[in-house]
């Protein structure tokens, strides 16, 4: 298996770094899937993750000036690696004003993803920093658990309000209850509710707009004011919101009543899908 890629454009580098930071906030350990056209950061819905899953996808040609990979085999031309997200984001953080960034798969004393940063310096001599990030190669037989999650037909699909606002609301709510209800309808209304013995707090967001639903029939049967709701763990929602440092280009949320909430974001050209299951 081989992998070798290079970024020379400053904007691409910064964007890649931001994505890596976001992943680090969303998942402590994640899987990096390398394929000829794409890079994916994957978190699968194991119990250890609390049932949360994540699928982040980017087109490699939007970032890398050079990209070569050789997967497991000709038929399975992919590489699946497990790494600690923070290691990657920290290494990339040092590449803020770099001239070039190279990433490659190496095997020094153990398999590593070597990130090599070429920096500008005051004088002519360029400064080079390398980071060997230890990784685990995921065997072929486990790949089936790491495929793109199927998005079930949502009951309601709605555009999200400004994420920073949502985050500050949820942060305050976290102090009162660990259990939150998200509900939305096809009239552009979204509510965040918490309920305890002593107090109920609801925050209403209006005029959010709804994207066109895939299947016409469900939208016609449904009363637009009817709320679809799901009960989730507030900390998981907060972790998701905290990971969004920059306001996304597009953000929408799909609710499957009492099953799960699915967040679908687009950060410029990188798509992020995040699934939070309902509390049983």
């Amino acid at each position: 298996m081989k992998f070798r890629a290079k970024i020379v454009d400053g904007a691409c580098l910064n964007h890649f770094t931001r994505i890596s930071n976001m992943i680090a906030k969303l998942a402590k350990t994640c899987t990096l899937r390398i394929s000829p056209d794409k890079l994916n950061f994957i978190l699968c819905d194991k119990l250890a993750n609390g049932g949360v899953s994540m699928w982040c996808e980017l087109e490699q040609e939007n970032f890398f000036s050079e990209f070569q990979m050789e997967g497991f085999s000709a038929e399975n031309n992919e590489i699946y690696l497990e790494l600690t997200s923070e290691n990657l984001s920290r290494a990339l953080k040092t590449a803020q004003n770099a001239r070039a960034l190279k990433i490659k798969l190496t095997n020094k004393h153990f398999p590593c993803l070597t990130v090599s940063v070429e920096l500008f310096s005051m004088s002519n001599s360029s400064r080079i920093a390398t980071h060997d990030i230890p990784i685990k190669v995921i065997p072929r037989k486990l790949w089936k658990d790491l495929q793109e999650p199927v998005v079930p037909d949502p009951d309601v699909s709605i555009y999200l309000p400004v994420l920073k606002t949502m985050k500050s609301v949820v942060e305050k709510m976290k102090n009162i209850s660990s259990h939150l209800v998200i509900e939305a309808n096809l009239d552009g209304e979204l509510n965040l509710k918490i309920e305890t013995e002593l107090v109920c707090v609801t925050t209403h967001f209006k005029d959010l707009g709804n994207p066109p639903l895939a299947s016409e029939s469900t939208s016609q049967d449904r009363n637009p004011e009817h709320m679809a709701e799901v009960h989730i763990d507030i900390r998981k929602l907060l972790q998701f919101l905290a990971g969004q440092q920059v306001n996304p280009t597009k953000a929408l949320c799909n609710i499957v009543t009492n099953k799960m909430v699915h967040f679908d974001l687009l950060h410029e050209d990188v798509s992020l899908q995040y699934f939070i299951p309902a509390l049983s």
């Binding site: 290691n87 920290r90 290494a91 005051m122 004088s123 400064r127 080079i128 390398t130 060997d132 230890p134």
Partner: protein, 345 residues
């Protein structure tokens, strides 16, 4: 105000808690804007250092801090005879430091006549399978002065380096680094108009034989040192860094000759992670305390560092007449800086 009528100049060596001093000088902006004068003096009768701020409109704020007498350790270390000397702006080095994950205890510096490389210490990254191994090359052009006598790789405490760089960024002078082979101390030196600071760090010895070279003389100073050693001997040897901060010694003319010979030097140390002979620490140190002889490097199992700090002031005359008045304004370092070494013999 302590009025000292004696003509003999006296010098006070004492310790003050950092926790007491920091809050007093915390808000730099408000200090600069509102304070007209600051007076620092001692009241030897009450063992207190008094810091007074004189504000506008006759407002005066007084802080009384208790001090403790102390006999600081001295280090014999001549930076001029070091094989390798570098000088660089602290900012550039601090930028390099950013590359290392903060959990690391040690960092290795590898130099050749052409380049300079900071890298994660091998000892550590081998143990932790999750640790990122980093290397940072800095071209020799970035240095104000770059003289390497021989290819060297030395390992020392990372936390100390970070602290020293943070401190040195406050001054605008370049930082000089003097070092030799592994095991021999490394000195970091800053020379500004107002401040000269020298930091001596212990480095990891490669093999036991190295550390027992003639340079690793270890003379001990009686009580304080043995107290210090006894106190720390019980500690778990893994990853514990022994810290020892000392003040610069007073100039010759003030101290009687006898005390000058009782100066202790920095011990070269072995790896803090070495667990063997943990129990031997107290034994060895006691023997080193009683005889002023070389301590075999293989039995040195702790790490500690010393910091010397001498304040330079223009008010030389005033100091001679009222030695007890001002602690911080004192300048006792002029003569000793001339030959660039710290030894007082």
């Amino acid at each position: 105000m302590n009025e000292n009528e004696h003509d003999t100049t006296l010098n006070l060596k004492c310790k003050l808690g950092m926790k007491s001093i920091l809050p007093i000088f915390r808000c730099l902006n408000s200090l600069e804007r509102n304070i007209e004068k600051c007076k620092i003096f001692t009241r030897s009768d009450k063992c207190k250092v008094v810091i007074q701020f004189f504000y506008r409109h006759g407002i005066k704020r007084t802080h009384n801090i208790c001090f403790q007498e102390s006999q600081p350790l001295q280090v014999i270390f001549d930076k001029n005879v070091c094989t390798n000397t570098l000088m660089i702006q602290p900012r550039l080095l601090a930028d390099a430091i950013v590359f290392f994950t903060s959990s690391q205890e040690e960092v290795t510096l590898a130099v050749t006549p052409l380049n300079f490389c900071l890298k994660s210490s091998n000892e550590e990254s081998m143990d932790l399978s999750n640790a990122v191994y980093s290397e940072m090359f800095v071209g020799s052009d970035d240095f104000d002065f770059f003289q390497i006598g021989m290819d060297t790789e030395i390992t020392f405490c990372f936390k100390e380096l970070k602290g020293i760089l943070t401190f040195s960024e406050a001054t605008h002078a370049p930082i000089s680094i003097y070092f030799d082979f592994p095991g021999k101390p490394l000195a970091l030196s800053i020379d500004d108009m107002l401040v000269e600071a020298n930091f001596i760090l212990a480095t990891l010895a490669d093999e036991p034989s190295r550390a027992s070279s003639p340079q690793s003389l270890c003379l001990s100073q009686k009580q304080k040192r043995s107290d210090l050693i006894k106190k720390k001997a019980g500690k778990n040897a893994t990853g514990q860094t022994l810290e020892c901060i000392s003040r610069k010694a007073a100039p010759r003319r003030i101290y009687p000759k006898e005390t000058l010979t009782n100066i202790s030097a920095l011990e070269n140390c072995g790896h803090p992670g070495m667990k063997r002979a943990n129990g031997d620490i107290s034994e060895v140190s006691e023997s080193s305390v009683s005889n002023t002889e070389e301590v075999p490097g293989s039995l040195c199992l702790r790490k500690f560092s010393c910091m010397f700090f001498g304040a330079v002031s223009s008010d030389q005359q005033e100091h001679f007449n009222h030695p007890f008045d001002s602690l911080a304004r004192a300048s006792d370092s002029e003569e000793d800086m001339n030959n660039g070494s710290f030894s007082l013999s």
